[in-house]
């Protein structure tokens, strides 16, 4: 780490942009909202994937904004079937390609990807994802996690963070918003014993890019969980999407790491975690939160971060400088 607090592993990223391919496989003209972090993530993932791949996509925002007949944003062979079955479709594609290759009907095996939102992954599609991972299909699953059912109008999913306001987890006299902690999809994927699992963010495009490459090169199932900022659902300014993605990492809300053959490794080091309020404040979905919930979130984030650092055998970063507020309930940053 240098005097500016930049970790060594991140230093050379400034040169990486020149090495990135210029070819686009997720083309412009799609109908995503202004500031959509998900469309940005899709673009980067497709760039990393390269030409020789087949994509199965779940119903959801990215499907709807990109595939209105007779137009398409996808330069890859692409198939959408339904909401909850994308992993099964990808499994079928993998098996179909395998037998056609074995019989000499195709000359090589293209890469196979499945993509879906957090609802399609952590909720309705969890069974088919689990089945496809367990059977060991050679495919890479990419979850676009915008932390709610944004396509249908911002309803809560099991991936919605604690305290967040959605249209089905509204704050009220008896409610402070989402009352459950975000489902740990990464741990679920790791528990399947698959060779490659990672978190990623389009706010760290080179980290994302190389993780996708690694996932595709790994034989067998791979899972990448991408946090994608949704200004529409998060009630955040559209010009803050990349910034919020970085804040999610810098506050410890969404650490970037990978799990290779069960071994955890932190890929983006955060020398000093920022207080959670820096992440919560720009988002309208957390506007209603009061001290007890913010305090709880901060404690949980730090505890979970500490556990992850142990798994990664990484040094524990500096705590955010926090002192109790006068009421004793809320931790406030000294910075």
């Amino acid at each position: 780490m240098d005097k500016f607090g930049v970790a060594n592993s991140q230093k050379y990223d400034v040169y990486a942009s020149r090495l990135m391919p210029r070819e686009e496989f997720f083309t412009s003209g799609h109908r995503s909202c202004q500031g959509c972090g998900e469309a940005l993530a899709v673009r980067w993932v497709c760039k990393a994937v390269g030409k020789d791949a087949i994509i199965a996509h779940a119903t959801g925002c990215m499907e709807i904004v990109s595939s209105g007949y007779p137009q398409t944003s996808w330069m890859h062979p692409w198939i959408h079937v339904a909401f909850e079955n994308t992993s099964a479709v990808a499994a079928g594609i993998d098996s179909g390609l395998r037998i056609l290759h074995r019989k000499g009907k195709i000359d090589h095996m293209p890469k196979v990807l499945a993509m879906g939102g957090d609802g399609a992954t952590a909720d309705i599609g969890l069974q088919s994802l689990s089945g496809a991972m367990e059977r060991g299909h050679n495919f890479t699953y990419v979850c676009w996690d915008n932390e709610a059912y944004m396509n249908t109008g911002i309803q809560r999913s099991s991936s919605t963070p604690f305290g967040a306001m959605t249209t089905t987890s509204p704050p009220g006299k008896q409610s402070f918003g989402q009352s459950t902690w975000k489902k740990n999809m990464v741990a679920i994927a790791v528990a399947h014993g698959i060779p490659y699992v990672a978190t990623a963010s389009p706010s760290y495009p080179f980290d994302l890019y190389f993780k996708v490459k690694k996932a595709l090169e790994t034989p067998g199932p791979a899972y990448i969980h991408v946090l994608t900022v949704c200004p529409t659902g998060w009630r955040s300014a559209t010009d803050l999407s990349v910034r919020l993605g970085r804040l999610a990492v810098e506050t410890g809300v969404f650490p970037l790491y990978e799990v290779v053959e069960g071994r955890y490794r932190l890929t983006v080091e955060v020398p000093k975690l920022k207080p959670i309020t820096t992440y919560l404040k720009p988002q309208g979905r957390f506007r209603h939160l009061r001290e007890p919930q913010i305090n709880f979130i901060q404690q949980q984030i730090l505890e979970r971060y500490e556990l992850l650092m142990k798994k990664c055998e990484a040094p524990y970063p500096e705590f955010p400088s926090l002192v109790p507020s006068e009421e004793g309930a809320l931790w406030i940053s000294k910075d």
Partner: protein, 391 residues
């Protein structure tokens, strides 16, 4: 060419799938379909069938995986029953809309609840509008023949629609029957390798499953409707080709001793064989009665059915499913609808029989015949009857 052999019908169907050189199979266990996929699985394991067999974690995923397999260009097969078909339901519509020629055997079984593993047609009748070609068979020979033929029909470039072969669970799937088999050489000549128009191929990328705005949805549905209706020509020509090769001829609507009969039974699936015995015995007793067996359920063979029924005074339509609270059970409703346009149409009476594995004997048909005649003489008291209800 070919040989005659006794075999369980499920195993014969799995041999038909292997003879058709199915390349990709995704299946989930459900009684009474299991013997088919078990034997396919062992054929793959023994290297007798060069195919990918995927043990998916549900029927929903079975149909989803079949879509993925078929979209790559692999010849794709699966089988299911009852709850499995119901769990697939959502994806069945998409498979046909994507125009993927998947072939599926449905070992017909009652839908829960109450849970029943036994035979009726409530599973497939709940899926009659999925946009697939749907064929019913009444014995092992037909099950074998139609399984091979289904691939040729489904993959025809004018059709490209998934196809279901319905065979009655247990009553047909688990019976041992003497059947005439055909050899691989003949099937290879009859059924060339699948050459799809579009596949998921990075060399020529396509988007499959784009969504449709109101401006185009109706047109897509119309195209599907026209294609499914027109597929009857391909279906009958494939059946004719098979008849030339094997001597076994099939028609969308089969007639059994139906010429000049005043009363006609109408059945689907293996009830036909039981009804045939009853018709023989009733005719021997001097009754003017015959039998119509509806083989092709989708596309619905309007012209053939009208021609077969037009001369009769009374048609007794035997359903194996109930449409609770509805106007009529499904087959009765459709047959009545088909006859309505005729200026001289026969009277129709519906009998729902054999639900949830309830045994149906030739005596049942004779009893229904007597009851129906009496009802007609008195004027029918109900729209349709649930036959044999106790208490």
């Amino acid at each position: 060419m070919g040989h005659r052999k006794g075999m369980e019908v499920s195993i014969a169907v799995s041999h038909a799938v292997a003879l058709a050189r199915a390349e990709a199979i995704a299946a989930y266990p459900i009684t009474p379909q299991t013997h088919i996929v078990e034997h396919l699985s062992s054929m793959v394991a023994n290297g007798e069938l060069e195919a990918e067999f995927v043990n998916v974690e549900s029927e929903h995923s079975a149909m989803s995986a079949c879509i993925g397999m078929s979209a790559t260009g692999a010849r794709t097969y699966t089988a299911t029953s009852a709850q499995g078909l119901a769990l697939m339901h959502e994806i069945l519509f998409i498979a046909s809309a994507l125009r993927l020629p998947i072939v599926m055997t449905v070992a017909n079984r009652a839908l829960s609840g109450p849970l029943s593993i036994w035979n009726d047609h409530s599973d497939i009748m709940a899926a009659k509008d999925i946009g697939w070609i749907q064929i019913f068979v009444k014995n092992g020979q037909e099950a074998f023949d139609h399984t091979v033929m289904a691939f040729k029909i489904a993959e025809n470039s004018k059709v490209l629609l998934p196809t279901i072969i319905n065979m009655d669970g247990f009553i047909l799937t688990h019976v041992v029957e003497a059947m005439n088999f055909v050899d691989q050489e003949m099937v290879d000549k009859f059924l060339p390798p699948y050459s799809p128009r579009h596949t998921l191929d990075p060399k020529s990328p396509v988007t499959m499953g784009a969504f449709a705005m109101p401006e185009i949805y109706t047109e897509v549905k119309m195209k599907h409707q026209v294609t499914l209706t027109d597929s009857q020509q391909v279906i009958t020509s494939v059946w004719d080709e098979w008849a030339n090769l094997t001597g076994r001829a099939y028609k969308p609507v089969e007639r059994y001793k139906a010429d000049n009969a005043s009363t006609l039974f109408l059945t689907m699936g293996c009830l036909g064989e039981v009804a045939e015995i009853a018709v023989d015995e009733l005719q021997a007793a001097g009754e003017s009665v015959g039998l119509i067996e509806l083989r092709l359920w989708r596309p619905f063979p309007f012209a053939e059915l009208r021609a077969a029924l037009a001369g009769a005074n009374l048609v007794i339509i035997c359903d194996r499913a109930l449409s609770p609270g509805g106007a009529a059970p499904p087959v009765l409703a459709e047959v009545r609808s088909a006859l309505y346009a005729l200026s001289h149409r026969p009277q129709t009476l519906g009998y729902i029989i054999g639900l949830g594995g309830r045994d149906v004997s030739p005596e049942s048909f004779k009893d229904i015949y007597a009851k129906a005649r009496m009802e007609i003489a008195q004027g029918p008291s109900q729209e349709f009857y649930l036959y044999g209800v106790r208490g």
